[in-house]
Symmetry: none
Subunit: 217 residues, 2 copies
DNA sequence: ACATAATGATCCTGATCGGAAAATTGTCAA
DNA sequence: TTGACAATTTTCCGATCAGGATCATTATGT
């Protein structure tokens, strides 16, 4: 069992490997010599910003600084999760009610979300939403109008869907004919990484008063 | 540019999405509430050891804490494709009728497929299907029975869904109560072109007599 | 009224971090 | 061998900050 090697050892090996002096490393990284020296002797550790600075100035992956055995997975997994709205995690925003499905599964490549659309006009909706990744939206009940940054609005009825790049501004609003609409959305989680998708996906930028509540968990 | 979100934002999004309170997160991570609160408000950052602690206690990978989008961040794309069954590509197999949606879009990360399920018994179905990737299946009409390699069969009714690792053997058959069932399936495409995914994904291995015909393309 | 959750305000101990001085190591000439 | 001398590394010190405890406040729901 190799314990986590210290940050000092990692930095020292990195520096030796590249045949740098402390001074050279200091100039490249923008971190003073004295600090680097102390880190290498485990008399000091670094904070978030310094680690980030090291990572991008020296072009190291963050995970290397933590000696993380990177993606070691891709074995035969056999996960299964049933998506029922009663077991979902509900997130309400002014425009949508989200029901996150299958939340018990971590690190999925896709995120299924049942969404009840309340907004009925673009002005009511506010700014277009944009985030990384892609998404497919399928209309389950009612009909919706899809507004987007680079296309004319289009109306989708029950049974129809749309696939879009999510970094294009977009907004789904309920069509005039119906009171509310229910859609199934699937968001690609950006880079096989659950977190980065959770970071960016489906958070209306600047939405102030979100309420988050669990339902039946 | 690299709009590096702050550590605070990242932690906050993480916590919100898992629907944890500060207290809960504190207990799980072993970091006191006051510290977490300050971090989330960007009044504080964390040092190496705390970041490591967060990573392993909460089972997050370090790179996620730094919002490191390892692989190249793509440019701004603005694709859009409407998925109507009339514009789909139809593929018939003994067990299923597939309607591939949004086929005009190449290189998508997900593949939406409307599927009409005809098989009504596992014996009639044949061997379980297995392929790479993950998939989410949502029942639109009727109800289905999901058979899989490592789980008991489960019945899904209209409005319910299931997320599975596709390399686990699986089969969807129409429930006895209904004649046919209609489901919306989304397959994660292992970042390959549409064609190769059409070739590999969702083809019962060894299915001999497939008919492929385009409808309204 | 009560409990829970989030935030803010203090206070404190110990750590980060950077500049500058001191110590170490190596090189070369007399 | 000895004494400059420079390059590299380490130590010292002060200003700032991490990080944890505690209490007060506000909002929300029961």
């Amino acid at each position: 069992m190799s314990d986590h090697p210290t940050l000092g050892r990692i930095l020292k090996e990195l520096r030796n490997h590249r045949c740098w002096t402390l001074k050279e490393m200091s100039e490249r990284s923008g971190i003073p010599i004295s600090t680097l020296s102390k880190v290498e002797h485990d008399r000091l550790t670094l904070t978030y910003d310094k680690l980030l600075q090291l990572s991008q100035k020296l072009r190291i992956r963050i995970s290397d600084l933590f000696a993380e055995s990177d993606s070691a997975e891709e074995g035969v997994t056999a996960r299964r999760s049933i998506g029922r709205i009663d077991d979902s995690v509900r997130v309400t925003t002014p425009n949508y009610d989200y029901y996150y499905l299958c939340t018990e599964l971590r690190r999925k490549r896709m995120i299924p979300i049942l969404t009840r659309i309340r907004a009925k006009s673009l002005s009511e909706f506010g700014d277009l939403v944009r985030h990384s990744g892609e998404e497919y939206i399928h209309v389950l009940e009612g009909s919706i109008v899809v507004h987007s940054e680079f296309y004319d609005p289009v109306t989708l009825h029950t049974g129809e869907g749309i696939y879009i790049d999510s970094n294009m501004g977009h907004a789904y609003i309920a069509d005039e004919g119906c009171d509310e609409a229910l859609v199934l959305g699937i968001c690609s989680s950006a880079d096989e990484s659950l977190m980065s998708s959770l970071m960016n996906i489906h958070e209306p930028v600047g939405a102030a008063n979100q309420t988050v509540e669990e339902v039946d968990v």
